[in-house]
Point group: D2
Chain length 502, copies 4
C-alpha cells in the first residue's frame, strides 16, 4: 500500500552494498517528511567492510606517498566541481542553510588539501652518527585499518577531517557517518572512488550502536576517531582503548565568549550572531554563552543583540536569504524547546522568545526561533549543559578574573573567545584559560586545516587532536631504525676477483 522509500546502503570495497536487516528513516527537517531510509549495518556487514579494508591495506601502504597525495588533489577538484550537489544534500537532510553547507564543505576541502601535502608531512627524522658508524631514523608508517564515527551536524566536514589524512598516510578506512544525514557523506565517498582511490581503501557503513560496537571491538581495527557528545565520546574512548586501540574522541562543548568593556561592541555582536545562531547552534564550536564583564557591557551587548535578532530570517535552508533553518529532528527540537522552558523556570530572564515561531509553508518543519536569555548563572541547566540549539545566554560578571574562573570550572573546554583591544588582556586570557581553542576577537576559533582541532577537559579524550599535524601522528605508528654495517670486504677490495669467477 504505502510507497517504498529509496534505501541508502553502504560503500564496501568500492561497491554499493546492502547489508543488515534494520533501517531508519531519514527526514527532511524543513518539511518533517521522510526522504529516504538508511540501512543499518549488522555486525557481519561491518566485518565485511573491515575485511575489505584489511585486504586493500598492503598495496596501499606500499604506494608512494606522492601518489596517494595526488588522489587527494584530484578528489579536491571533484569536490569543488560538485559543491552544489553536496550542499543540497546537506541542507535537505540536516536543515542548515545552503551558505552554511557551503561553509562546511569549504572547511572540509581544506582538510583534503592538507592531506595532499602528505609527502612533506610524513618525513621522518634522520640522524647520522648517533654513535660511530651508526645511523638512526624514524619512519611514520601506516597503522592498517582505521575507523571514524561522525556526527550529524557536519556530515561533509567532520568525515573529511578524518579519512583523507588517514588514507594519505597509507591506512585504509571504515567510516560510519550519522544515520540522520548520510547522503552527502556517501556522495563524497563516491567522488573519492572517482578520483582514483582504490576499492577497499575507503569504506562507508551506515548504522547505529551495533555497527559502532563492531568497530570498537574488532581486533583488526587499529584506531578510532570520534566526534559526538561527551557521554558517547567517553564510551568510545574507554571501550576502544580497552580493546587495545588508539582512540581520539571529541565530545561536547559549552563555549563562552567574554566581552570586555574595551571591546568593539558592534563587531563583537555581529560576530556573536553568527556564532550563536549559525546552523541553529548545532555546532561544537558555537557560542551559547556571552560573558559580559561589567553591567554596562552587558547592557550594550544585550541591546544590540535584541536588535539584530529581530532582523533574522528563518526558513527552509534551500530558500535564498535565510539566516537559519530548522533543527535536525523532531526529537531534538523538543529537547531544545525544553531547555528554553527550563531556563525560564530556573529564573533566567528570557529576553527574546523564539518558541512561538512558525514558518509559513513549512508548518511541519522543526523550526525554533532564536532565543536570548539574560542573567544566566552557573548551576542552571541552561548554563551547564550543551543545548545545541539557537539559544544564547548572557552571563554577567564583574571582572575578567571572575569570567575566567567560571570558564575554567565548567566541565567542557572546547573553544572560547575574548573580545578586547588590549594586548595584555588577550595574552593573559590565552595563556591561562583551560580551553583548547581560543579566539581573540574571533568568535569561532576553529583552527585552519594546517593546525589541529581539539578541546581540553571533558571535550576531548585522547592525546592527539583532530586534523592538521596531530592527525598525521595519530594515523601513523613511529618505527625507529638503528643501523650499522659490518665490513663485507667489498669496500676494501678483498673480493675484486670474485665477480668474474662467478
Amino acid at each position: 500500500m504505502h510507497q517504498e522509500q529509496p534505501v541508502i546502503t553502504h560503500l564496501i570495497n568500492g561497491q554499493p552494498v546492502d547489508g543488515g536487516s534494520r533501517s531508519a528513516d531519514v527526514f527532511n527537517p524543513a518539511t518533517g517528511k521522510v526522504g529516504e531510509q538508511v540501512r543499518l549495518a549488522d555486525r557481519a556487514t561491518v566485518e565485511s567492510a573491515i575485511a575489505a579494508a584489511q585486504a586493500a591495506f598492503p598495496a596501499w601502504r606500499n604506494t608512494p606517498p606522492l601518489k596517494r597525495a595526488r588522489v587527494m588533489s584530484r578528489f579536491k577538484e571533484l569536490l569543488e566541481q560538485h559543491a552544489d550537489t553536496i550542499c543540497r544534500l546537506i541542507t535537505d537532510e540536516h536543515g542548515k542553510v545552503l551558505a552554511d553547507s557551503l561553509g562546511e564543505l569549504q572547511r572540509g576541502i581544506e582538510n583534503v588539501e592538507y592531506a595532499s601535502y602528505a609527502p612533506e608531512l610524513l618525513k621522518g627524522e634522520h640522524s647520522r652518527n648517533v654513535g660511530p658508524g651508526i645511523d638512526a631514523w624514524s619512519e611514520f608508517q601506516a597503522l592498517g585499518v582505521c575507523a571514524g564515527i561522525t556526527p550529524f551536524n557536519f556530515p561533509a566536514m567532520v568525515p573529511l577531517w578524518m579519512w583523507p589524512m588517514a588514507v594519505a598516510c597509507g591506512n585504509t578506512f571504515i567510516l560510519k557517518p550519522s544515520e540522520r544525514d548520510p547522503s552527502s557523506t556517501l556522495f563524497i565517498a563516491q567522488l573519492a572512488q572517482d578520483a582514483g582511490l582504490p576499492p577497499g581503501v575507503l569504506n562507508v557503513v551506515n548504522g547505529d550502536k551495533e555497527a559502532v560496537d563492531t568497530l570498537l571491538t574488532d581486533p583488526r581495527v587499529q584506531a578510532i576517531s570520534f566526534v559526538g557528545s561527551t557521554p558517547v565520546a567517553e564510551y568510545i574512548y574507554s571501550t576502544g582503548t580497552k580493546h587495545g586501540k588508539r582512540v581520539q574522541a571529541l565530545g561536547g562543548a559549552k563555549n563562552h565568549a567574554v566581552v570586555m568593556p574595551d571591546a568593539d561592541i558592534d563587531n563583537a555582536v555581529t560576530a556573536l550572531m553568527g556564532a550563536a545562531f549559525g546552523s541553529c547552534g548545532e555546532r561544537c564550536m558555537a557560542i551559547p554563552l556571552v560573558v559580559a564583564v561589567g553591567d554596562a557591557t552587558a547592557d550594550a551587548v544585550r541591546e544590540k543583540l535584541v536588535a539584530e535578532m529581530a532582523r533574522m530570517k528563518i526558513g527552509s535552508g534551500r530558500e535564498a536569504g535565510c539566516d537559519m533553518g530548522p533543527l535536525v529532528t523532531k526529537a531534538h527540537l523538543d529537547k531544545v524547546r525544553g531547555y528554553v522552558d527550563q531556563g525560564v523556570e530556573e529564573g533566567a530572564e528570557l529576553v527574546v522568545d523564539g518558541r512561538s515561531l512558525t514558518v509559513a509553508g513549512h508548518e511541519a518543519g522543526y523550526f525554533l526561533g532564536p532565543c536570548l536569555f539574560d542573567r544566566v548563572t552557573p548551576g542552571m541547566r541552561i548554563y551547564e549543559e550543551e543545548i545545541f540549539g539557537p539559544v544564547l545566554g548572557i552571563v554577567r560578571v564583574d571582572s575578567l578574573q571572575a569570567a575566567m574562573a567560571m570558564i575554567d570550572a565548567h566541565e567542557y573546554g572546547n573553544g572560547t573567545c575574548i573580545f578586547t583591544r588590549d594586548g595584555e588582556t588577550a595574552r593573559h586570557f590565552t595563556d591561562h584559560i583551560l580551553v583548547g581553542m581560543v579566539g581573540v576577537n574571533v568568535p569561532l576559533p576553529v583552527p585552519v586545516a594546517y593546525h589541529s582541532f581539539g578541546g581540553w577537559k571533558r571535550s576531548l579524550f585522547g592525546d592527539l587532536n583532530a586534523y592538521g599535524p596531530d592527525a598525521v601522528r595519530f594515523y601513523t605508528r613511529r618505527k625507529q631504525i638503528t643501523q650499522r654495517w659490518p665490513s663485507a670486504g667489498v669496500r676494501e677490495g678483498a673480493v675484486f676477483s670474485f665477480p668474474s669467477s662467478k
Copy 2:
C-alpha cells in the same frame, strides 16, 4: 629482639615523608638477604603527593622553559658526579653488574640532556594571515599533574625517561618506582631537588597496587606513563583511559634477532651475547630468540655461542670482571628456572644448561647460569612468553620470509634486529616488519634519547612513545589560538588628544 631494618620512605613536596602502614622487604639478590624495608604508600599518602604536585603546578608552569631546562642541566651534572653511588645502589638491589648499572645510568642521563633542550622542543607553529589580518599559532602547554609507574629492571633509567621531560615541559610529577629496588630512584630524585627543582614538582611514592590505583583514578592526575609487563600495561591503559586520562603503557617483549647467511657471524654472535645475557636478560629490549636462516647459519651461530657462553663469568654484580649477576628475586629465579624445565619438556634441545650453577660465597644468591636452547619453535611456551632471564633460544627457518612471518605473528612487537651485509635485505626487513624498533646489525636497537622508544602490537598501548620527541607531545596539551584585532583608533590617530586629557 630482632634488628630493625632501615625503612625507605617517600619524597613528597621536597621532604622525606613516611606514609602507609604496610612495608615490603628489599633484598640484595647477590646474597639473598634483606637490606631494607620499603614503606608502601596508602591512598591518603598518594593523595597528599598529588596535592603537593597540584599546588606546585601554577608557579612551575609559569617558569620560563629556559629556566626549567637549566634545572635539568644542573641535575645532569649532579648525576655525573654521583654516578658511583647510584650504580652501587642499583647493583645492590637489582643485582646487575656495575658496568650494566653505569650503562643504564648513562642512558638515563641522555634523557635528562634531551629534556634540557626544552626551549627548542616546546616551540609552537605560527601562521600569519590564515585569513586577512588573522593569525594563528599553537602552544604546547603543560598538562598539570602527571604520574609514572616504573619497573624493577631499570630503576634509574626508566624513571629518567619520564619525569625529566614531563617537568621540563612545565608539569609536576608523581613517580611510583618498583618496590623491589627503590633506593637509586629516590637518591636520584633527591639530586633533582639539590639541582633546584622546587618542592612538589617531583614527588616519589613507594607502593604497590593501592598506590597505583590511586594514581589511575584520581581526577587530578592528567597523564600516566607506565613500563612493565603486558597484562599490567593493559590494565593501566584501560583503567587510566576509563578515568579520562591520557596513558602510554609499555608492556612485554620477545625480541627476535634474525641472522642471515651473509652476516658477519663473529660480530653477530658477540653482539648477541650481550643482548641475550646482559642484565640476566631482564630487559624489554633483550634478545631471547635467534632466528637463523638456513641450517648452516644456525650451526655456525650455535657453535660460537656455546664457546662464548663457556667463557662467561657469573657472580656478584659488585665483583670486578663479572659478566652477569643474579636474578632480581627468589621468585623470579624460580620462574625462569621453571621455563628452562618447561623448554626441555616441550622438546627444545637444551644445549647449555645453567641450572646447576652455584657461586662460591654467594650460595643464597639468586643465580642462574646462561642457558641455550636450539630448535625452539612457535607454540612452545619458551617461544611465546617473555622469560626475562638468561635463556636464549635458536629458531631455525629456511628463509627470511619465514622469519618475518614468525615475528609478525608473535604477540609482541617491541624490538627486533637483522644481521646481514646486504642493503636490499635490510631495507625489506625494516620496511615491512611489524615491530617498533628495528636494528640492522645492531642487537639492541634502543633509540637514542633524541628519538623515541616504543613497540608495536601488544608491546605498547597508546599513540605516543616514550621519551624523545613523542614525549614532548605526550606531556603537553596543544592550545590553538586564532587572533584578529579590531581597530581601536589608536593606529589611525583618532585618540591623539586623549592621553593628555587624562
Copy 3:
C-alpha cells in the same frame, strides 16, 4: 623578399610586451631551421618588468598563503591539461625526445605541487615565555622582487624550480629564460595567469647579458636564482652579492658513477644508458663518467654498454621510439664533436664513435651518435670538463678509495652515484664523498621536489639550495618578533565605568 619569422616577446604585468631592438634566432635543432625570432630585452624593458613586479608586491604579500597556494593548485591542473602542447614546444626548440620533455615537465609539476603546500611551509616558530610574560616568534616574510635566470637544457623544469615557490611565499618575480628555447617557458607563464596569478606577480623577459646585468644590479631586485655553467654562475654570484642581493647560483657538473665489483651489472648498465645519453647528455645531473672498480668490472660494464649503445635509435625528438634527439645548436654540436676529437688525441680509447652519424631526412639537424671512451684518466680535458653531450667515458681504478679520491679532487661536486649491494660500502661512500647529491644504485639522484637540489664545491655558489625546503628559506626573510604587554588596567577592571561614559 624573405619571410618574416614570428617574434617571441615578453610577459610584463600580465601582458605580452615587445621591448628591445635586438633579436635572436630560435632554431629547431632537428631540422637546423630557424623557427622564430626572440626579442632581446634592453635595460628599459627589464626595468619596466621590475617596476611591474614591485607594484604588484604589496597586494600579493598580503594575500593569505592559502590563497596563493590555491593559485598554484589550479596552475598545476592547467599544466597537466596542456602537457602535450608544452612537450612539443620543448622538443621543437631544444631537440630532446618527447618522452624526455614529458619527464622534465613532470618534475616541474612536482615543484608546483610543493609550492602549493605553502601554508605548511611558511609556519614560523612560536615560543611562549622566553622570559616572564614575554613571547617571541619568527615569521618568514616575502622578500619583494626576485629574479630567476635559467638555462636552455630544461626550459620547463628549471623555471618551475624557482618562481612557483617564490610567488607562493608572497614574492613577485622576473624570469629570464634561455633565449634558445623560450616558447615553452612563456606558454607556461601564460597558464599561470590563466590560473589566477595577478598581473605583475610573474613577469618573463627574454634577453641576454644586458637583461641579466640589469637584474643583477637593479636595487629593487632582492634575490637571484641562477642555473647554468660555472663561470657564469660565479659571475652571477659575485656580481649579485656585490650589489647586496642574496644569490643562489648553480653551475656545472661532471658526475661520476662508481661501479663496484659486487654491483648488479645489468641493472647498472641499464641505468647508466639513460643517465649518459638521455637528453643527449645535456643535463647537469647526467653521468658522463663511469668509474669501474677493478678491471673485471670495467670489462663487464664496457661490453654491455657497447651492446646497448648499438641498439639506440637516434632521430627527431618528435619521432616515436627514438632514444635520443639532436644537440641544441650547431655551435654546441661542433663543441661536443671537438671534445671527441680531443679525447682521441689525449689517448683515451674511443670504443664507440658516434661522429659519423647522419639521420635520414634530417641531414641539417644537429645530430651526434653516442660515443664511448675507455681508459679516460684525470688530466684529460674529456675528464676534467663538462662536455654536455652524448659522450661517456670509462675510468678504471683499483679500489673504492681511489675512486673517491678522484671524485673529491674534481672541481665539481654536483651529483654522483655508486652501484653496489653492500650496505657498508654505500654508507661509507655517502657519508664521506664531497658531492651534494648522492645516489645508491640510483644513477640520477635528483632529489624529489620535497627535498632540495644542490651540488658542492664549484657546482653551487650560495648557502641555500634550489627548490624544496631550502627554497622556502631562500625566498623569505626571517622576521623575529619579541612581545610583552604592559597592563592597561583593562584586565584588572579599573576602567569598567569607562565605556559607558564615552
Copy 4:
C-alpha cells in the same frame, strides 16, 4: 728603556702562538692607559691557523654530534664558573660596566647552550618510498674550516654566537676578534680547550686587515661570519662571495623606538634609558631614536627622560653602582662628541648635553655624558648615521603611518620597537615594518638564543641569520641521498649454501 707591555698572542692548534711582526696597543678606556699589546697576525700566521683547522677537521666531523654537544655543555659550566674573571676582562678593555659585561656573557652562554642541542638540531629529513623501493634523506654535514670576524662591542657574546654552533655542527674554526679588546675572547677560547675541544678545532688569531683578507681569500675557508659596520660588512660580503664562500655579514643599525599615545609612558621611558645608554650606546641593537607619535607624547617622553638622565651615574665600569662607563677609545670618543656638535649645527635641540662631563679620578678616561636631542629630523647626520654613543634623539611625528614610512626609508633595518597597549597597532607594525627584529613594548628585541638574529636592508648581507636555527643551516651543507637496493639474492635464499662453502 721603556717598560715592555705583555703581548697578547694567538691560539693555534691548542697552543699560544706568537706570529706577526706588528702589534697594536690595547687600552683601558676608563684610564686611557695602555694595558697590553696585541700581536697582529701576518698572512703566514693566519695560514698556519687555517692549516691547523683543516687538519683537525676529519676527526672532528666524524665525532658523533652528541659528543661534540657534550663539549659544549662542559664549556658552558666553565663559563659560569669563570664569569667574574671574564667580566673583568671585558670591562677593563671595553669599558662597559660589570653588570653589562655579565649581561653580555649570559647571552653568550645561552648560545653555547643552544649549540649543545646539536643532536636535535642536526636531524635531517627522511622519506621512505619517494618512488617504489626508493628512499631519500638529507644530511646536514659540516663545511670544513669556517671563520668569524667579530667587533669590539661584544667581545664575549658575538664570538659565542658563531663558533660554538659552528663546531657543534662538526666544523673547525678561525676566530679573529677585535684587536681593541681581545683578552676575554682569548680567555674564553682557552676555557673551550679545557672543556675538551681538541686542538685545532677552534683557533684564534688577533689581527687587522691583513688577517681578515687572508681569511676572505684563502680557498680552504668555506664560510665567513661577520659582525661590524655596514661598509666593512659589504666589503666582507662581496670579497668573501667573490672567492666562492658563503658569507653572512651583519652591519650597522639605527633603531627607532616608536612611542604611541596609548603607551605606558613610564615603562617606555625606563625601557628606553637602558636601550639608549646601556654600554654607552655601543650596541647594534641600541635605541638612538625615539619616534614619538603626537606632541603630547613627545613632551611626556622628553620630560621623563630628562629626569631619568639626571639621575644617571657615570664612572669606571669596575665601580659599583655606575650606569655607564667610558667609550671604547679616544678616537671613538672624539667621533661621538663630533656627532653631538654636528647635531647642534644641524638644528636639533640639544636638551641634555653630556659633553662637559669629567669623572673624578678618571680624567684621562674616554667619558661622555648622556646626551638628548629633541626635534631630530631625517636628513640630519645624527638621524641618518650610526653614532654608537650615548646620544638619544627624539623625532616628532603625527601618526604611526608617518613613523613607519620614516623607518622604512632608513638605510638600516636591524631592530625597532613600538610602545603601545593596542593589539591592532602592534600587529600592523610588526607585520609591515621593514625591519628584521621587532619589539612590542620590548626595547631591545634581541632574539633569544633559540631563535635567530638578523636585520633587513643594509643591516645584513646574506640569507641566513646569526645564531639559532639559521646558524645550523649556515654552518652545514645539505647532502641529499637517494637510495634503491637491487636484489642480491640474499633475501630470497638463493645463496643459502654459499657461506658454508667459503
